[in-house]
């Protein structure tokens, strides 16, 4: 055991350490920021750290794009005994999204945070932000079921703090954070009960090993209970339709930079976990046998697409409208999962990414409007598109992408989703998808109307947002357009991910032999 010595050891290089560095860099930045305690150092450190994360995430994404995987053994303990970080096409993709969003949001945050949060909280704010990034990336990268819970709580706890920082503008941020804390903790605890049941059945915590041992356990009540607990627990984190109650308030009252980051990444990481557990740990066959996709997830996804979109139409506040639209968009992603096909999952993965960048543009637009107009009620942002042409144009691009107009990223994901529907001859489903997109036209149009077709409000500051806010907004907006026109990168990555997931444990397995072989290759 502890005395097991490795006589021949080849020193690991920097490349071998990439999976852990991905987590370690933001994780160490947080205490470093607190340790130095300097307000002027906090932001540069946070920015450099997210930039490094992005570089690592890109390297990882490129190196697993052929469908292979990288396994990193923490502490040198080989899985299934030790904790393993496992990067494959599916999670490298989500890692990339998180790192990219963090890097884009950081420059935006500098001005936005200075405006919305009192100075004395800045260092701790950036430390929390780094912990949030750490948690989300950890949830995605780890191959150990309990580790998912730990990272989930790291990200959740820091998220509650970040949301509550909106209290300096509106005290309702506090109750929003509190409600989120209650629901989030219940969700995480449900998840951990599920993990406990799985551990009782399999005696392992490594996901790939768990998947192997769960094979043929479809009739086992404990496994079924575990599945239910995990889906409901993560469903709370995802804000899957009837479990979404924490989301509108939390997004609405959180500081703009936080909302941007959360909307683009937090629910996405949770969706990834749900998919990973459904398709890798429990295996597609098991999920299919439970009928949960067809009878629960599918209908709820459809309900979300319509109910949340309808609520979004009747909002009077731009930021709150976007929060409801997020719930509707999560419906599209869950619908892709519910279709239970490679194309459907591809649609989910693509929409995960595209919706991430789309919402990043829009919420950054909200932040810019907040800076100049003070609030984002439609009557206050009226006419701001004329005095803030760059911000206004970016919001329009984001809005078009949210609707799914051809030439924008949003179109691609809906196109793949419609394709998946046609693949299974569900033409009515395709019609529903298009119909719900029409609802998006209405709520986006209300914003465009307010921004351009009305006279500017006299109380607003009639000035373009600072360059530091406009530039990241436009980076994301151009990404929206670019990924709408050049679809190869995103579709390939998503398809590889979806194929790996649909293959069940085979997409992740070959645990002992392949991992051992990979270890000797190093």
């Amino acid at each position: 055991m502890a005395t097991a010595t490795e006589v021949h050891h080849t020193a690991l290089t920097l490349t071998d350490h990439l999976p852990i560095l991905q987590i370690l860099i933001p994780f160490c930045t947080a205490p470093l920021i607190v340790f130095f305690g300097s307000r002027s150092l906090a932001w540069p450190m946070a920015f450099i750290s997210s930039l490094l994360s992005l570089i690592i995430a890109t390297t990882l994404l490129v190196s697993v794009s052929d469908g292979s995987y990288i396994s990193y053994h923490l502490g040198g303990w080989a899985p299934p005994v030790g904790i393993e970080y496992r990067v494959d096409a599916a999670n490298a993709f989500v890692l990339f999204l998180i790192a990219a969003t963090a890097t884009v949001v950081m420059p935006f945050a500098l001005k936005s945070v200075a405006h919305e949060i009192p100075k004395r909280n800045h260092t701790l704010f950036y430390a929390c932000f780094m912990l949030c990034i750490t948690g989300l990336m950890g949830v995605v990268i780890t191959g150990d079921a309990f580790n998912v819970f730990v990272f989930l709580e790291i990200s959740s706890l820091s998220t509650y703090v970040l949301v509550s920082q909106g209290s300096h503008r509106d005290k309702r941020a506090l109750t929003a954070a509190y409600d989120y804390l209650i629901m989030g903790t219940i969700g995480a605890t449900f998840f951990v009960i599920g993990i406990g049941f799985l551990y009782m059945t399999t005696g392992t915590l490594n996901m790939a090993d768990m998947a192997d041992r769960l094979q043929g356990q479809g009739d086992n009540r404990t496994v079924q209970a575990a599945f239910a607990f995990i889906v409901v627990g993560m469903g709370l984190k995802v804000a899957m339709y009837p479990l979404h109650l924490w989301l509108p308030a939390a997004y609405n009252y959180a500081p703009s930079a936080v909302t941007t980051f959360l909307a683009a990444t937090a629910t996405k990481a949770a969706i990834y976990v749900i998919i990973r557990f459904m398709f890798t740990v429990f295996q597609p066959d098991f999920v299919f046998d439970t009928h949960i996709l067809i009878w629960i997830i599918g209908p709820l996804a459809l309900l979300a697409m319509f109910a949340a979109s309808l609520i979004a139409i009747f909002q009077t506040n731009f930021k709150r409208m976007l929060a409801y639209s997020s719930i509707a968009q999560i419906g599209y992603m869950m619908l892709g999962v519910a279709m239970f096909s490679t194309t459907g999952l591809t649609a989910t993965m693509v929409h995960l990414f595209n919706h991430g960048i789309t919402k990043a543009v829009l919420f950054m637009g909200v932040g810019a409007l907040m800076l100049r107009a003070g609030t984002t009620f439609y009557d206050r942002i009226a006419g701001m598109g004329r005095v803030m042409p760059l911000t206004g144009a970016a919001i329009v691009i984001g809005g078009l992408s949210l609707i799914g107009v051809p030439g924008t990223a949003g179109f691609i994901s809906k196109w793949v989703l419609v394709q998946a529907a046609f693949e299974q001859d569900l033409w009515w489903l395709a019609l529903i998808i298009v119909a719900s997109s029409l609802l998006a036209v209405i709520y986006v149009w209300r914003v465009v109307e307010a921004l351009y077709l009305q006279e500017p409000h006299p109380d607003a500051i009639h000035k373009e947002a600072p360059m530091l806010m406009v530039a990241p907004m436009w980076v994301a907006a151009i990404a929206c357009l670019y990924f709408g026109l050049d679809t190869r990168f995103i579709l390939d990555a998503a398809a590889t991910a979806a194929e790996g997931l649909m293959a069940g444990s085979a997409g992740m397995a070959e645990i002992s032999t392949a991992a051992a072989a990979a270890a000797t290759d190093h």
Partner: protein, 145 residues
């Protein structure tokens, strides 16, 4: 359902009772502090579930005995309890403490801003705020949807 079945699963029954008690408190109580207490009971129930499944009949503390030179002497006759769930729960307890203190910190701030920690009062204040916003910002549609 025989007596044997009941007694044989006694840890699960206790887990279920404790868990549902906590969950009920979270859902039914309007006092924010009581909700946190309920959440704690809910989490402790899960800790107990984990710890109970680590028990092996006749098992002892999982520490290998050593001889006088400090070498580990593995004795296959000794049955050990499973330490892994305990370790996991150590982590979960820490998470629970963090959640509790953060929740209480939020309550302190809520109390400073709203002058109440009762959900009913706070909802009333928020409804009034939302109403005022609707009045100010025109549109009669929506509000607190």
């Amino acid at each position: 359902m025989t007596l044997e079945f009941f007694l044989g699963h006694v840890n699960y029954w206790l887990f279920i009772i404790l868990m549902m008690t906590g969950f009920y408190i979270v859902v039914s109580r309007g006092n924010y502090v009581k909700k946190i207490v309920g959440l704690n009971i809910f989490q402790v129930a899960v800790f107990m579930l984990y710890i109970s499944i680590g028990k092996v009949t006749g098992g002892t503390a999982p520490i290998f005995p050593t001889d006088s030179q400090g070498k580990i002497k593995v004795d296959p006759d000794i049955v050990y309890s499973n330490p892994l769930p305990h370790v996991l729960i150590l982590t979960a307890i820490v998470v629970g403490i963090a959640t509790t203190s953060l929740g209480l910190a939020l309550i302190v701030r809520i109390r400073e801003e709203y002058n109440s920690i009762e959900e009913d009062d706070i909802l009333e204040i928020e409804a009034a705020m939302a109403h005022a916003e609707n009045e100010e910002h025109g549109s009669a549609m929506g509000g607190r949807a």
